[in-house]
Amino acid sequence: MNQDFDIKIIDKALSIDNAYDFVLDSTCGGITLFVGTVRNHNKGETVTHLDFESYRPMAIKELTKIAASCQTQFETKKIAIYHREGLVSIKEKAVIIAVSTIHRKQAFLACEFIIDQLKLNVPIWKKEYLMDGSHWVNARP
C-alpha cells in the first residue's frame, strides 16, 4: 500500500470531503478535484439512472498504476480516487479525483490525466438506463 494514495470503489455515496481531507497537506498550495456526475441526457436520449460494474481488484491495480505514474510525471503529493459501483441516480457523483501538489499547474495536469486514463483503461463498466431500455455504454457493435 502506498500511503500517498487513497483508491476506492464504493457502493455508497462518494464524499468530496473525504477526498479533500486525504490529499490536504501543509506543504501543498493547490488541490485540484474532478467530480464526474450523472447527466440526465446522453446523445439526445433521456437517462434515468446508471449501473456501474467493476472488476474491482484489477480496477484498483490499474488506478494505482495511474496514480504512481502521476507521482513520477507531475510530482504529485497525494491522490484520492473514488469510483462508484452499483446503481447511481442523476446528479449523483460517479467518480471523484483529488490531487495535491506543491505548484498548481501540476495538480491540473495530473487530475486531467487520471480521469482521461480512467475512462480509457480501467475495468469499470456503465450500464445506461433510458426511458425505453438499457445498454452497456461503449459496447454497441
Binding site: G36, F52, E53, S54, Y55, P57, M58, A59, K61, H83, A94, V95, I115, L118, K119, L120, N121, V122, P123, I124, W125, K126, K127, W136, V137, N138, A139, P141
Partner: protein, 78 residues
C-alpha cells in the same frame, strides 16, 4: 479454465463465470478463437481485451487453468 465475465460479455455468455474444459486453449489468441466460435456475438466486438492475473494480456501470452482470466469489454467508467 474459469473465465470471469463483465458488462456486455456477461450478457453474451449469460453468466458471471464461464468454465471451459479444452486442452487446446494455450494462449490468449486460442481463447479468443474459442469465444468467437462458441458465442458468435463476440465477433461483433473486436475491441474486447483479455486480462490474465488482473493485467491486460497480449494475444501471444500463454494461459493455463491456474491463471485468473477475465474478458474485458470496452470500458466505460467515470
Amino acid at each position: 479454465m474459469r473465465i470471469k465475465c463483465f458488462g456486455i460479455a456477461k450478457e453474451i455468455i449469460n453468466q458471471n463465470t464461464l468454465s471451459i474444459e479444452d486442452d487446446t486453449i494455450l494462449s490468449v489468441q486460442d481463447l479468443r478463437r474459442y469465444l468467437e466460435n462458441q458465442y458468435p456475438r463476440f465477433s461483433q466486438y473486436k475491441s474486447f481485451m483479455i486480462a490474465v492475473n488482473q493485467t491486460f494480456a497480449l494475444d501471444t501470452d500463454q494461459i493455463s487453468s491456474d491463471d485468473e482470466i477475465a474478458i474485458i469489454p470496452p470500458v466505460s467508467g467515470g
